[in-house]
């Protein structure tokens, strides 16, 4: 029985990696962004995760700054935090490409090992691939990103 419990603990560590827990506890770029040019909401009403993503995009189409606020589980908060870390400095089309890469990795459509771009720290999220019930938590911020760039007013939902 102990063995089983230990194996389980290791599996859990694959989902709740240190980097995820760190971003969940101390989310980066957390708060409202004054001067945001693009914003979007992500809401999963059934599970209660909510976030508001703010982007500042310059005339050249580059994301100069990004922030988010909201509440949710460790996975959704860490994912939003990692997202803001990862997209600042990207052009709109590169950010949309990253959305495609990340969401297809998280939903299991693409093996992260074969991804075209190096996802860097975002690879910490790949543990959710084994937790179908939690994929929606990890992808919420990313769908909000796409909506913000596409200037869609409807909140993003992933459940």
């Amino acid at each position: 029985m102990n063995n089983v419990a230990d194996i389980n603990a290791d599996d859990l560590r694959d989902l709740y990696r240190e980097l995820i827990l760190d971003h969940a506890r101390k989310p980066r770029h957390f708060g409202k962004l004054d001067g945001a040019t693009h914003t979007a909401q992500g809401i999963n009403p059934l599970c209660g995760d909510k976030l508001h993503l703010y982007l500042q995009i310059d005339d050249a189409g580059k994301i100069c700054d990004a922030k988010f606020e909201g509440s949710g589980c460790a996975i959704s908060v860490a994912s939003a935090s990692l997202l803001t870390d990862s997209i600042i400095g990207l052009g709109k089309s590169d950010a949309l490409h990253r959305f495609e890469e990340v969401t297809s990795c998280l939903t299991g459509d693409v093996d992260p090992a074969n991804a075209e771009v190096d996802l860097g720290k975002l690879q910490a999220l790949e543990g959710v691939r084994d937790y179908p019930a939690r994929v929606k938590c990890a992808t919420l911020a990313w769908h909000a990103l796409r909506n913000a760039i596409d200037e869609q007013t409807k909140p993003a939902r992933t459940e």
Binding site: V4, N8, A9, D11, L12, G48, C73, A74, I75, R134
Partner: protein, 415 residues
């Protein structure tokens, strides 16, 4: 005398019913399933599964029509279930047992068929802060349709109704009081008999949402004195999509039909249609025959064990679970009413309930996390949701010990 002593001992022994439930033989992530989500939906004993399968395999036909053998068998089993349900909640007549798809439909039926024709601006519907969404939204829809006003009786920070406030809200302009018997989010058992007596003194009609009451305690609708009592089959070990609206015969008689269709008529002509007698007036269309037959088998299952024995077993187990959870560092119990059944909601440190739910599931422990379809209750406590462990007659102390060990593990993961 010796026999009586033996029975007493037997009555005091904890129930061991796990083996009756095929789903509870599952292993999840290599460990025996600990199912603590019965408030969302209870598992079904083999007896229920077999009754449904027997009907599907051998007895399937439509009910109330046709002279052939299968139609007769199906009708016997379906109507037999109604009789069992009547005696299970001690209704005065089988005409008072309207078979519905569940508590939600039962409540909507009362809102639309009983209330809607008779209310308008200036009238009030009274509910409580503890209600499940299915005992809130049908009344909101009704108020939007009619201009009536929805009032909400308050609760305190233990999750108990403020009974003085509720009583003061039972004024002449209240047409109906809709109150839950047991809170699904917090487990609070409301003193419905007392509340009903106050309402009746003012001639106010009362609906009790009994979805969380029926699986855990003896229900006697005549003793309670309520006008309507609504409950679901799948919370009491029956199939989903089956349920009951109990209504007093005189009230049901005076109500117009809920939906039109086959089975709810005596005679149809283009110029006039005569409705069927009770309870068929409220059962338009081919019903959920297999679900109702399964529900009848669930009633037999509970009755054979004895609902009072179930209530005692769960009462002891809930006390054990609450005290064990309370010993965990960083735990916060949500819902600490004096009278409770089945449910304990909790938070652990600042861990989000969903993370807790995933970690527990990993250890084979199934709990519910989220707002439990009671968002106003969550808002009252300023929480996005809670973790909720809910007990049923098949749970035992081992289940509680596994829950506690799994919660401790969650603390380690997030330490």
């Amino acid at each position: 005398m010796a026999q009586a002593q033996h029975d007493d001992r037997k009555n005091l022994a904890p129930l061991e019913l796990r083996s009756d439930f095929p789903a509870l033989q599952e292993t999840i992530n290599g460990q025996p399933l600990v199912y603590l989500d019965s408030a969302a939906s209870a598992q079904q004993p083999a007896r229920v599964i077999d009754a449904v399968a027997q009907y599907q395999r051998k007895d399937h036909a439509n009910v109330h029509r046709g002279v052939h053998t299968l139609s007769h068998r199906a009708t016997e089993a379906y109507e037999g279930a109604r009789d069992k349900l009547q005696s299970f909640i001690n209704a005065a007549s089988r005409s008072e047992i309207v078979l519905t798809s569940g508590t939600t439909e039962s409540i909507n039926l009362v809102a639309q068929s009983f209330c809607r024709p008779k209310i308008g601006p200036g009238d009030k519907i009274l509910i409580t802060h503890l209600e499940h969404h299915s005992n809130i939204v049908p009344w909101q829809l009704l108020c939007e349709q009619t201009g009536a006003e929805l009032l909400v009786a308050p609760m305190d920070d233990r999750g108990q109704l403020n009974l003085d406030a509720l009583r003061a809200m039972l004024t002449d302009d209240v047409v109906l009081l809709a109150v839950g018997h047991v809170s699904n989010a917090l487990g609070t058992v409301n003193p419905v008999k007392e509340i009903i007596s106050w309402a009746k003194a003012q001639d106010i009609t009362v609906l009790v949402d009994g979805a969380q009451g029926v699986p855990h305690m003896a229900i006697d609708v005549q003793d309670l004195g309520c006008d309507f009592y609504a409950f679901s089959g799948h919370k009491m070990f029956g199939p989903t999509g089956s349920g009951v609206l109990y209504g007093k015969e005189s009230i049901l008689e005076a109500m117009p039909p809920w939906q039109g269709g086959g089975d709810m008529i005596l005679e149809v002509r283009f110029d006039t249609t005569t409705y069927n007698e009770l309870p068929y007036k409220f059962e338009a269309g081919t019903p959920n025959i297999s679900g109702v037959i399964g529900l009848g088998a669930a009633v037999d299952y509970i009755t054979n064990i004895g609902i009072d024995k179930v209530a005692r077993h769960e009462h002891d187990l809930l006390a054990y679970m609450t005290s064990k959870l309370a010993e965990i560092d960083g735990i916060r119990l949500i819902g600490t009413a004096e009278h409770k059944a089945s449910v304990q909601s909790f938070m652990l440190d600042d861990i989000h309930p969903h993370d807790l739910g995933t970690i527990l599931d990993h250890q084979g422990v199934a709990i519910r996390t989220g707002h439990h379809c009671a968002m106003p209750v969550m808002e009252f406590f300023g929480l996005p949701g809670t973790a909720r462990a809910s007990l049923a007659l098949y749970n035992n102390r081992d289940d509680v010990d596994r829950l506690v060990a799994a919660v401790e593990k969650a603390r380690q993961v997030f330490a």
